[in-house]
Symmetry: C2
Subunit: 159 residues, 2 copies
DNA sequence: CTGGTGTGGTTGATGCTTCAACTAAGGTCC
DNA sequence: GGACCTTAGTTGAAGCATCAACCACACCAG
């Protein structure tokens, strides 16, 4: 129930997916389903973090003062503010992150990576990178990495 | 905290990601995060289904008798048996799917798509396909679709 | 035909995500 | 300097996924 047509028709069918697109789509759906579970499994097992936890810590670690406004952090992690708020609350309870009101804007909240959070992140990073390398990049040629980069970029500009 | 090196070093660094890989990875992570939310949002809004619900119904619809064993269905949807069991239970409560013991193997359970389920699926399909086309394939050239297909296939064989 | 092991599947508790509702502060218009 | 809209963020309830434990049947060995 992804296409009502089998294939072999010339031209671009606006309504449905042609055979090549259908194959690509099924594979992409599988990838999009499996990648998060692989990353989550490794990070939870080895570091007690979800992949999203890791992303939040990583984004803070790359930034001056290790501090970002919640909205900025949400943008960088491609998450809703609601989701981020819940996650940062849990990270704060674990001492990995500190929240404090933003001096410039009374509505805003800043999140800062603590030393403890930095330490957890640096311990988690090597295993995570190894997983990424082994499960993704070792399967691709440099040419394919470059193609993937372009394709992902094109898709992102649509979303 | 995805790479400790900036770039520009020749050769293949086993431990970390080089600059090209890092860019590709960040984009891929974003895609993998955003695609499910786009699909879920559209399907929930228009049809009251999650994308995974849709996938389950779609897999059943493509098969003789519209019937599959739970394990086979789990493989086709890239899900754990636990997850599938919960979802099929909910779908059964909504009358979209029927569960019954497998005659050949007393341990196994068959799941069959009901007429109601078929009808919900066929009503959901056009909107879903449109979303897929607009958010993914309209952004890609036929060449890129083919590259994506190969890349996803290579990754899947690793997982 | 009994005991042991592996397979197929379900369940309940827990944790994360989402949705709707809400508080509070900034900006604007007059 | 209120009335009003927008922006920033939080909260609680409900839904979905995951994990560990479990039951039931199949299969095999002796």
């Amino acid at each position: 129930m992804t296409s009502h047509r089998t294939s072999t028709e010339p031209g671009r069918d606006v309504g449905w997916l042609d055979a090549d697109e259908l194959v690509a789509w099924k594979r992409l759906v599988a990838v999009v389903e499996l990648i998060p579970s692989v990353l989550d499994a490794q990070l939870r097992r080895d570091s007690g973090l979800t992949h999203f936890d890791y992303l939040v810590l990583a984004m803070l670690s790359e930034v001056p003062d290790r501090t970002l406004r919640m909205t900025a952090l949400a943008q960088r992690t491609n998450a809703t503010l609601t989701r981020l708020s819940h996650v940062v609350k849990r990270l704060e309870e674990r001492g990995l992150v500190l929240r404090f009101p933003c001096p410039e804007d009374g509505r805003a909240t800043n999140a800062r990576l603590t030393d403890e959070g930095w330490s957890v992140l640096t311990e988690a990073a090597p295993g995570h990178v190894t997983t990424v390398r082994e499960s993704i990049f070792d399967a691709l040629t440099p040419q394919q990495v470059s193609e993937l980069s372009e394709i992902a970029d094109a898709i992102l500009r649509r979303l």
